[in-house]
Symmetry: D2
């Protein structure tokens, strides 16, 4: 059994009727719904809950954390960010969606500004698969087409991904590294671009399929966090 927590800022849904119409249960609710299956236990957590819903107990029991945020990155408590980071280094998987590129947790794990270009103009997007051997694209064709999405364009100020799995084409002339993996400590991270709040992107079956695949890919390895610090004296080793 895999324990997934879907974290959402949940602010657009409160003030923008367009977003609320698309995601009546919130973006977190929509994602939680399609993730539910026999092998996955899904919970949600949102910004305005106590400790943003990410208590020590919740984090300890989370195998994979999904993160969607946009308006209120600055309201996320630094102490919570540190706890999430510690859990990623221990092995918890982290899936960062769309505008989560500017979240504190993603920026602190990347070490860069994570800045990019953007345009809200109903661009057509084609997400091309660049690494056809990766489990995250199992069952996906050559590309995923989204009729309308917010454009995100290069340069995307991230470290070179460990694996670059997808690359977006936008009608207006831009490209973007849309599916990127990283390892940090014992943990695996997947950044996945699509999902602007005013489009029904998380209702798209192929997008759902990628996120499901990513959840399985990001699950923790069964290993203790490495031992650091002062090692056994050489004399003792030599004496053996």
């Amino acid at each position: 059994m895999l324990n997934v927590t879907v974290w959402n800022e949940n602010r657009h849904e409160q003030k923008n009727p367009v977003v609320r119409d698309i995601y009546p249960e919130g973006i977190h609710g929509a994602i939680a719904n399609f993730l539910k299956e026999d092998q996955i236990e899904v919970k949600t957590a949102t910004l305005d809950e106590l400790e943003h819903g990410l208590t020590a107990e919740v984090l300890t029991n989370t195998d994979v954390l999904i993160w969607w945020g946009h308006l209120a990155h600055d309201e996320v408590d630094d102490a919570i960010v540190e706890k999430v980071k510690k859990r990623v280094l221990e092995g918890m998987g982290l899936i960062v969606l769309h505008s989560g590129h500017f979240s504190k947790i993603f920026k602190t794990l990347m070490g860069t500004s994570c800045d990019l270009k953007w345009r809200e103009a109903d661009d057509k997007e084609r997400i091309w698969i660049i690494d056809p051997s990766h489990p995250i694209v199992d069952g996906i064709g050559e590309y995923i087409e989204l009729e309308k999405e917010e454009m995100y364009g290069e340069h995307f100020d991230i470290p070179a991904p460990d694996e670059l799995i997808m690359m977006s084409w936008f009608e207006g002339g831009e490209v973007f590294r849309s599916g990127c993996t990283y390892q940090r400590g014992n943990g695996k991270i997947f950044y996945f671009r699509p999902g602007h709040e005013t489009y029904p992107t998380y209702h798209n079956k192929e997008i759902q399929h990628v996120i499901k695949n990513a959840v399985h890919w990001a699950k923790p390895v069964n290993r203790s966090y490495p031992v650091y610090g002062n090692a056994k004296p050489l004399e003792e080793i030599k004496a053996k």
Copy 2:
């Protein structure tokens, strides 16, 4: 159900009683035995069989191919090597063990000489885990220690691995990239260093555990091989 074929040159076993004593059923038999479990169907194939045991039917029905060879790399038929390569690009996983670094199939997939340093002198080996987040090292501690093994040392003339998972330390003063992954086409490749024929390395439980993990990791994605060639005319695209 995962279909695994263990390929072995099976020549040392015929002429060297030391090797035969360690692996009475051959190296392929030993590996096949520990791989058998509910989710895995294991077959073996050897050099002296017709088409080296790798007929079109066998290859089509193999999800992951394991390769051990040493003395007789040159006797492997070029046409069979081409068929194996084609299957890797289509998605079949490939696990290359120890002296398989000099096999035709590994060299043609790498594009380099795959040369290295070696010494048969009962070196102690410690295989350190470098990427603690990788599914191939799930359940493995900080390192695997082998009391005696053949030394393989850098420089190992391979392309920079997509993922470097393990690094060996040898008593005599050398290091070696011992666990390396590559993707080629739709296929995943894992090179794993240990396993000289005169040591009981494949009876070691941790080595067995790594190979089992690798088999699961290397399983094919469910995707058709990409479409290549002349693409849809732009006029047609523009007309839409």
Copy 3:
């Protein structure tokens, strides 16, 4: 002083007046002309010369080899390809241009089919810079725009590049990994996409600038090729 050899198939120029008009001195002549500067000595070589112009002496004295081919990949002698490969592993830089993706030398160094999608339809191309820190893009802006080019689209069946420096956007809806580096042995390889023979791409100042940068980047390191084979006995090491 850096010794550069520009190799060109030089066949389109003989039969197609459009190509001859654009490149009256051949594609090799055009590239050689813009590369000439104080620190670079440039020679050319073509398919129909003896040994394709790539004699042992020429190869030994070449620091960086540039390769353009298209119609006649199969006419390149396998023995010459082996000699070029040997020199790359020894340290010679190799820059593969455009349709050279299907050359024997590139395919044997990559280990994959190097296949791709293509379309001759005057697509607009934008080559976006993905790695802004790389010396190959020194002096280049955010992207290079080519009004008309042949389209090359993913999936491009290559190993994941060591460094992905550029990514092309095409008007018709495709993306492509257009600037890729690899190391093989002591040698550095750069694949650079643009340059279909019926467009004046190699007269474009930015394209020229990238190729110049690449020549400097690809220059050999001053190192002997690594020592391989049977290493010093452990007893001798222990005795010290």
Copy 4:
């Protein structure tokens, strides 16, 4: 002309006569001395200077910054760290030496704990070259041997390096990724392991040679920092 600033904590030198004897001008002085050549202008800066010697003017005029710290990482002002990070993202090269793995600047650029194993026991170290094609190892043989050094061992909690150039072997049984490159924004970073303060490591000619090579490799590209934010409207693009 390349402007290099060598930053050193400069505390061991004040309190430990062993260190002072080895480095009478400080570690920074020793490094500055061997870097001086026709094409390089070298300055030094230390922790106890105003703004740690890293004023806005100094940083603006630094092409490559070298960093050695150990005892007093916590005394480095967060605001200075932020300024250094901003300069790296703009293009300044950064070379982090030995115990600098735990510096604030390295940790914030890596996003991980940067923790490791260590032992002060006069281990013999062999730094093997893993990537023989890299300019940082130009002129270096198969390995560099240091008779006595502090041991640093895996697991080293860093992101997978963009390029892994060197790997250390230690007498006591450990391995370590000793030469690692990263790109962050427009900037290039090189981590180089050796240099414990009680050993004369920075007087070793090969170690000096590597650091010199690294300085040239890390020099900034001539590019403006990418443009981020709201991009040109699609309508405007479509209207063209």
